[in-house]
Symmetry: none
Subunit: 156 residues, 4 copies
């Protein structure tokens, strides 16, 4: 298993901030390792005080759920109480967020971390994260969780 | 009161892992005693990091609610706020999960523990748990909770 | 970075239970991965209800602090309030325990998980964990944390 | 009130990482604003998983207590229970840490944020933080908290 270095994380963070600036948005960005622990967090001038923590929870979600947060939406919609209980499990350090701007960092078929972006619209957060990871050679394809409403299938 | 030994729990865990493997799913499995305390937890290679905790919460639910988690679904649907408050009670150590893959372990009419399976689809988790308990001679019949909105009836 | 498989974790767990039985102690044992997430937990017949969770927290500590729990004792003694605050950090899922029976799992110089044993005396828990890891070819040497009372030194 | 920009925070972070590297330590560093909210967090390769959160709590402490963490040590020693209760107050987001490596960021007599460093020895963390802030023109003089046991005096 390979791991994500600070240099690699910084390359992602810098690209996210530049990309967000190019569309005129002040965002926060976070990169965590495969276990969900922080490597780098940054808040742009003008981004709201809690956005770094939102970005971190999005990154955490993408890392430990091993899927981008938006892939968890159907699960959350079909089982809202159960989904919210995930965040209360003893092993869960942060809220599990089924939302845009939360993308798993994958290279050579292996999950090595998570990226979270917060501060733009949902679509902007997602687009920035996807564009940056694609441009840096990370993989954005993830197998589905099985059929809708049955999200616990393991078929990565 | 008879109790669930580690050997008996291990027999269940091994059967669950074998059964899950036969359908190509990487699951986590947990067995708890009648008080909801862990006897055995296992995570298959490839199952996600939080799945052992999901399996454990399912097992906990089945043990302390004395009914399989899926039998709690109507209750959760009819009284979602009240239901979610169960998990916040002082004696509740883990989330009460109204979901598949959560089965009460019963023998000779007596509740002796809970089994949780997570990592397959909801139906797969349930099927694996039911099949394993049935094949090992545990009882899978549980009296209904009575009418909706009156879920606390004790008629096991 | 290599990772700890379920088979490797089970080999450790089985050896711990056998070793504990040979000294007449009913223990609980937990093995977690490098990020602190559960791979395997087991409670022997006769071990107390919370011992599996104690074993898990010990394993978690050894994994995420990257040192055996007993190496944290001086730190805890010299800075008890600060030490207890570690367990309240947003990224900490479980209590950080400065105690015996908490050993980091290291192979080829790399930290790949944590082992926790609970239920014997402190010395027994430690001895069982050390003996088992040594007998299975894991490394038990860890660089000191610098001088006493200055435990944050990184010199692994 | 002037505020700490991301550029200014990054200048501090980069200087801390360079300074720590020059003494051979892998540290984590955090900079927060006057309200204690994250601007930037970074974990060096080799620093332990929880060190970014320790650095953040140190930065938080220095910002919202408006004094370096080590100036709080006497208070903590003389009133340990009361001091630990600070961290449980409704407005306290993170543990208040009376320790080295936690320095208030002050310019033109105004408190504009907090810096936290974790991963070296206590003295190293403090030295790195002090050196960096001094070299970048920040002020390191803070009025005492008055006599022991009367720590709430505001005389910055």
């Amino acid at each position: 298993m390979s791991s994500l270095t600070l240099d690699a994380a910084e390359e992602i963070v810098a690209a996210v901030l530049q990309r967000a600036q190019s569309i005129g948005k002040a965002v926060s960005v976070a990169v965590v390792d495969a276990g969900g622990f922080v490597i780098s967090v940054r808040r742009s001038d003008g981004a709201r005080p809690l956005t770094p923590d939102i970005a971190r929870a999005k990154a955490y979600t993408a890392a430990v759920m091993q899927r981008p947060g938006k892939m968890l939406k159907k699960w959350q919609e079909s089982q809202p109480v159960f989904f919210s209980q995930l965040s209360q499990l003893p092993g869960a350090a942060l809220p599990i967020m089924a939302t845009e701007g939360s993308v798993t960092i994958k290279k050579d078929g292996e999950i090595i971390g998570g990226l979270g972006v917060a501060g733009g619209t949902a679509d902007e957060d997602q687009q920035v994260a996807d564009d940056v990871l694609a441009s840096l050679g990370y993989e954005l394809e993830f197998a589905a969780w099985g059929v809708a409403g049955k999200p616990l299938g393991k078929d990565a």
